[in-house]
Every structure is written in structure tokens, then in C-alpha cells.
């Protein structure tokens, strides 16, 4: 992961694309920096693939433009075409052998045959598909086809690699293998990558920065760490694991903190909202700390439990009383549904649950650090950032 800002290699400005009445992409600005892996993350139909085609200059935007190394228009397009490669979600292969397909881009660029064969052989070795070189493309499995597609792109030694959900149609094992191969291949070549994915793990595991996209708009672009710690809206918070929300009204503000009335109780949370504004507080169930009156257990989802003799000396700003209404065991973890001033959900380790002897009807104290709660104005969809 790199935090140092690098100069943009590819820049899309004021990009807008519509299909009929549907706005597919409406983004003020997006940059791909030299050597970084930028993941565009969002649900199906968010406009990610359209954005990829616009940035790869394979499709013309209705408004705005794309610059590659400061060049736009036909000059920029020509330069990008020579310097980039694309792996589509369902790559098209010409009815021929794997060798023909992998070497096709080199042939189109006029690379001599001997050099082309060397490069094809090298990249296929790297991706463990050398045994497939003589096979007809119709004989490939889904995973093999994606590897061949990746090989066909990597053999070009691209400065910019566009990957459109390369693991979307694969089973779990093939997905993990290909993800590792992508990371290894990309990192060893210092290629800039624009990756489209709707797989949270993929985006946050592979990317230097993640661009959150929804309804064709860029919600937030940040490093995975910053997205996790400072999500700008409920959607991003949910993506980073803060999948539950508590509605409330802002009763006080102080710097980056807000005080929110949630109906009979008050919570302190990170966020910026005006007094009296309706907000939603997003939290991760594993961030809630549960305690009996004489003890404290915090589940971290890793099978560990912190113990403290009492709740007195804790830094947690938020404490609520709640009654357990449901307990669900999930392997080594236990998910608890509780009713306090609002309904709450927590995940603790099995050991922690046993020590607390939690069962439906048990009375607990639920605590949360203010920095673990994120308040967002209700109905907020975010704005372009980064």
C-alpha cells in the first residue's frame, strides 16, 4: 500500500455518459496514479464497466474527457491504446489456439514473431498456463479462460492495465488463485491498474485506493484504511463492515464529533451534521463492547476477548442498557440481537459469550467508542472526493 501521492497517469474529468434516460456515469474527476492499483467498487449496475470503457477510451463520453499523460483527444487515445491492455469480465477469444490469442496483441503491434513467441511463452509460464498453449480456446474452463485473458493483456507489458471484474464468474478457489496471480503479476511489473469489482475483499485486499461508485457517481476515493476509518456515507460504511445503522437526531456538535439522540438515550459519534438534523449512525457489530455490571467482554471477531474488572475506568463514550432477544451461534462467533433504546446487533467470540452467559433475556451494558460510530445525514449519498 502506498500513501504518497503520485502524479496522475490517467485522468477523467467531468465524465458523463447516458444510455437513453439512464445516467450510467456522472463523475467530476477521477485519477489513476502512476504505479497504483485503483479499484472501482460498487454494486451491479453502478456504472463501473462504463467508467472503465470511458477511461480506456474505448467509448466516447457524452461530456468530459480523458487524458493520458496529459494528452487528450486522438493523440491521447493513440498513446493509451499502445500503452494499455484490458481484461474484460467475459473476454472474447478468437476461434483458435491459446497461443494465437495470447500473441494477438503483439501481432497487431507488429512485434516480430520470434520475440512474440518468447514473450507469450514467458507470460504463460508466469500464469501457469504453458500447458494450454496448443489448446483450442473452446476447451478452456472459466478459470483458465480468465488466465488466458490476463496473459493476453500482460504479454503487452502495459503501462495501464484495465481489469473488468476478472474474477466475477469464477468459483471460490479459482477466484483466490487468480487474485493472487493478478497481484503478483501486477506488482512485479509496476503496472498501473484500474480494477472493477463488486467483491469487497478483492477491492480492499488488492487496491492502493478504492473508488466507491454508486448510481454512476463517485462517492469517495481513498485508501482502504481511510475508507474504513472515515466513510463519507452509509453505503461506504456498510461496505467497510458497518452494516447496521441507528436513526437519531443531532443534539450537539463538537469538532468532528456529534451528539445524537436516539430516542431516550444519547450517543457520541464521528461525523458532521447540523443541530437538529436527522442522521443515521453506522456501526460494525464487532465494535460493540458487552458487559455485565461486574465485568466486560469485547468480541473482536478473532476469538480473543478483552477482560476488564469493571466499566468504571473505560474510555468508551457510549453506554446503553439492553436485553438480549436472540442468540445465534456462527462457528466460533456468536451473533446477539439486543433491544435497548433501539435494536442493536453485536458479534462476540464464543468464549466471550460463554463467560457472559448470554442468552435471550440476559441484561447487558452495551458500549462503543465514539470513533467506532459514524453519523451520516439521512438520505446522504455522498459527493465526489479524491
Amino acid at each position: 500500500m502506498t500513501a504518497t501521492p503520485l502524479p496522475p497517469l490517467l485522468r477523467g474529468s467531468g465524465l458523463r455518459k447516458t444510455y437513453g434516460r439512464k445516467i450510467a456515469v456522472d463523475i467530476d474527476g477521477i485519477d489513476l496514479r502512476e504505479g497504483e492499483l485503483l479499484a472501482a467498487f460498487g454494486p451491479n449496475g453502478a456504472g463501473k464497466s462504463t467508467l472503465l470503457r470511458l477511461l480506456a477510451m474505448l467509448e466516447k463520453p457524452d461530456a468530459g474527457g480523458v487524458e493520458f499523460r496529459g494528452e487528450s483527444g486522438r493523440k491521447g487515445e493513440r498513446a493509451l491504446r499502445r500503452a494499455s491492455a484490458v481484461v474484460f469480465q467475459r473476454p472474447h477469444f478468437w476461434r483458435d489456439t491459446v497461443k494465437y490469442n495470447v500473441g494477438l496483441g503483439l501481432k497487431l503491434r507488429g512485434v516480430p514473431r520470434s520475440e512474440s513467441e518468447d514473450r507469450v511463452s514467458r507470460v504463460c509460464d508466469q500464469l501457469h498456463i504453458s500447458h494450454l498453449l496448443g489448446a483450442h480456446v473452446s476447451e478452456l474452463s472459466g478459470g483458465e479462460a480468465q488466465r488466458v485473458g490476463l496473459a493476453r493483456a500482460l504479454v503487452l507489458d502495459p503501462e495501464v492495465l484495465f481489469l473488468d471484474e476478472p474474477t466475477a464468474n469464477l468459483d471460490t478457489d479459482s477466484k483466490l488463485d487468480l487474485r493472487q496471480d493478478i497481484e503478483r503479476a501486477v506488482r512485479s511489473r509496476a503496472t498501473s491498474v484500474f480494477l472493477i469489482t463488486h467483491d469487497r475483499t478483492e477491492a480492499f485486499h488488492l487496491a492502493d485506493r478504492v473508488a466507491m461508485i454508486r448510481d454512476g457517481r463517485l462517492i469517495q476515493t481513498d485508501t482502504p484504511k481511510d475508507l474504513y476509518e472515515n466513510p463519507v456515507d452509509v453505503y461506504t460504511a456498510r461496505v467497510t463492515g458497518a452494516e447496521f445503522t441507528i436513526p437519531g437526531v443531532v443534539t450537539g456538535t463538537s469538532g468532528r464529533m456529534v451528539k445524537v439522540d436516539i430516542g431516550g438515550a444519547s450517543l457520541a459519534a464521528l461525523g458532521s451534521a447540523a443541530l437538529g438534523e436527522r442522521v443515521k449512525i453506522a456501526y460494525r457489530p464487532e465494535d460493540l463492547i458487552l458487559a455485565l455490571m461486574d465485568g466486560l467482554v469485547r468480541g473482536d471477531g478473532e476469538g480473543n476477548a478483552d477482560r476488564a474488572p469493571g466499566t468504571g475506568g473505560l474510555s468508551t463514550r457510549n453506554r446503553l442498557s439492553a436485553v438480549v432477544t436472540e442468540r445465534r451461534d456462527m462457528g466460533g462467533l456468536v451473533r446477539l440481537r439486543m433491544q435497548g433504546p433501539v435494536e442493536l446487533v453485536a458479534i462476540v467470540t464464543l468464549d466471550a459469550a460463554e463467560e457472559l452467559a448470554v442468552a435471550p433475556g440476559a441484561k447487558l451494558v452495551v458500549m462503543a467508542k465514539a470513533t467506532a460510530l459514524h453519523a451520516f445525514p439521512s438520505g446522504w449519498h455522498g459527493a465526489g472526493r479524491g
Partner: protein, 244 residues
């Protein structure tokens, strides 16, 4: 004029054996007619390819206004009756016709023209249908690989090369076995415009069944070859599609 053997009475096997003898002994009359047929139909095929293939591919690949009526027009060519094509060519090329001054009537050139008009729509319609069936992602993938505009077109056509061979084979099959148009515009003149189909009609009327059968055998062999080519390509496509 070559003197042809005549028989008034024959058994059922005699003409067939005689036909095979004519073919294997290299009978000049029979082989001249066969070679002239192949020459005329081959030339017509080349003309039909030069005109039909670009038209079919252009209409199939391009997106333009009023494309649908153009597609309908090209496809309508498939239903063109050869004898009507012959009649139209005759009226155009006859002395009183608009192209009468060219003096092409009853020449191989007129036959080539008529056959090209018959084969052209076959080739255009089949290649049009094939081009329409090329998935949109082929062009996108080609461009993503760095293909120029022409390279993209060639890569798209590469995907339908078997269909294009089938289109040409179908066009050839349609004209080499055609009799109406070539009879009208060629006139079935010995050593000039007599081809297999017109010779079969003539020799059957004359009672020279062995000659007619010899040419019929060659026509059948050509038809078999054309169908074998079509079947081979269709099977290859089917096998690959099934494997995919």
C-alpha cells in the same frame, strides 16, 4: 462438328458405362463442355464475390438509417428466379435493348453476367447474416488489444470466415447447376456457350443419353463437393460451439 455416337436401343446399364468411358477416356467434346462450365461459373463466382461479399459485409457490419429495408432488399435477391434473371439479361443485351450495342448476347460474357447476378445475392445475403451475428464484444476486444480500424474489421471477419466460405460455396452451387438463364443469354452454341446444364438438355433431347449422363455425373460430383465443404465447415463450427 464432332460426330456423336447414336443408339436406338440400349439396356439400362449401357449409357452409364458409356458415360464413364467418355469421362475416363478424356472425350474432347464432353471435357470441353465441362471445362467451359467451370470457367464461366468460376468467373461469374469471382464477379459475384467482388460485388456480393462487400455489399453483404458492409450492410451486416455498419449501422445506418434505413438499414432494415436494405437488408430486406439484399435478402429478396435470394428468391430471384434464374430464368427471370436470364430474361432480363436477354432484354438488356438484345439488339433492341439498351445494352444491345455491346453485342454481348450469346457470349460467355453474357452468361458470366447473368450467373453473377444469380450468385451475388446468395453471397451477399449469407455474408450479411453472418456479419450481423458477430457479437459486439469482438470489436471492443479487438480495439482493446490495440487493433486499428482495419485490423478490427479483419478480426471481426475472422470470426465468420467459415460462414463466408459457405456463402461462396452456396453461390457456386447455385450457378453451376443453373440452366434457365444461361440457356437464354448463352444460346447453347457449340464450342462457344454450351455448358453442362444446357448440354444435358440438348443431348437428352437428341437421345445421346451417355453424354448427358457423363455431364450429369460431373454436376453431381460438383454438388457433392460443395455440400461436403458446407458440411465440413458446419461440423467444425458445431463441434467448437459444443465444446465451448
Amino acid at each position: 462438328m464432332k460426330k456423336l455416337p447414336r443408339r436406338n436401343r440400349f439396356g439400362p446399364v449401357d449409357p452409364l458405362l458409356e458415360a464413364l468411358r467418355l469421362l475416363t477416356s478424356g472425350d474432347l467434346y464432353v471435357w470441353n463442355v465441362i471445362l467451359r462450365s467451370l470457367r464461366i461459373s468460376g468467373s461469374a463466382l469471382v464477379v459475384a464475390i467482388i460485388i456480393g461479399l462487400p455489399v453483404g459485409l458492409a450492410v451486416g457490419l455498419a449501422r445506418f438509417r434505413f438499414r432494415l429495408p436494405v437488408v430486406a432488399f439484399v435478402n429478396a435477391g435470394l428468391a430471384l428466379p434464374p430464368v427471370v434473371v436470364g430474361l432480363a439479361a436477354f432484354l438488356l443485351l438484345s439488339r433492341a435493348g439498351p445494352l444491345g450495342d455491346l453485342r454481348l448476347l450469346y457470349t460467355p460474357a453474357a452468361m458470366i453476367g447473368a450467373q453473377a447476378v444469380i450468385a451475388g445475392p446468395y453471397i451477399a445475403a449469407v455474408s450479411l447474416a453472418a456479419a450481423q451475428g458477430i457479437p459486439a464484444d469482438v470489436a471492443l476486444q479487438a480495439r482493446a488489444l490495440g487493433a486499428s480500424r482495419w485490423q478490427t474489421i479483419l478480426l471481426r471477419l475472422r470470426e465468420i470466415r467459415t460462414s463466408l466460405v459457405a456463402a461462396v460455396a452456396a453461390g457456386f452451387g447455385a450457378i453451376v447447376s443453373e440452366v434457365g438463364a444461361v440457356m437464354i443469354v448463352g444460346g447453347n452454341i457449340l464450342d462457344e456457350t454450351r455448358v453442362m446444364t444446357t448440354a444435358i438438355v440438348l443431348e437428352t433431347r437428341r437421345g445421346n443419353f451417355e453424354v448427358a449422363i457423363a455431364m450429369g455425373i460431373v454436376l453431381m460430383l460438383i454438388a457433392l463437393c460443395v455440400n461436403a465443404v458446407l458440411l465440413l465447415f458446419a461440423r467444425r463450427s458445431f463441434t467448437r460451439a459444443s465444446a465451448a
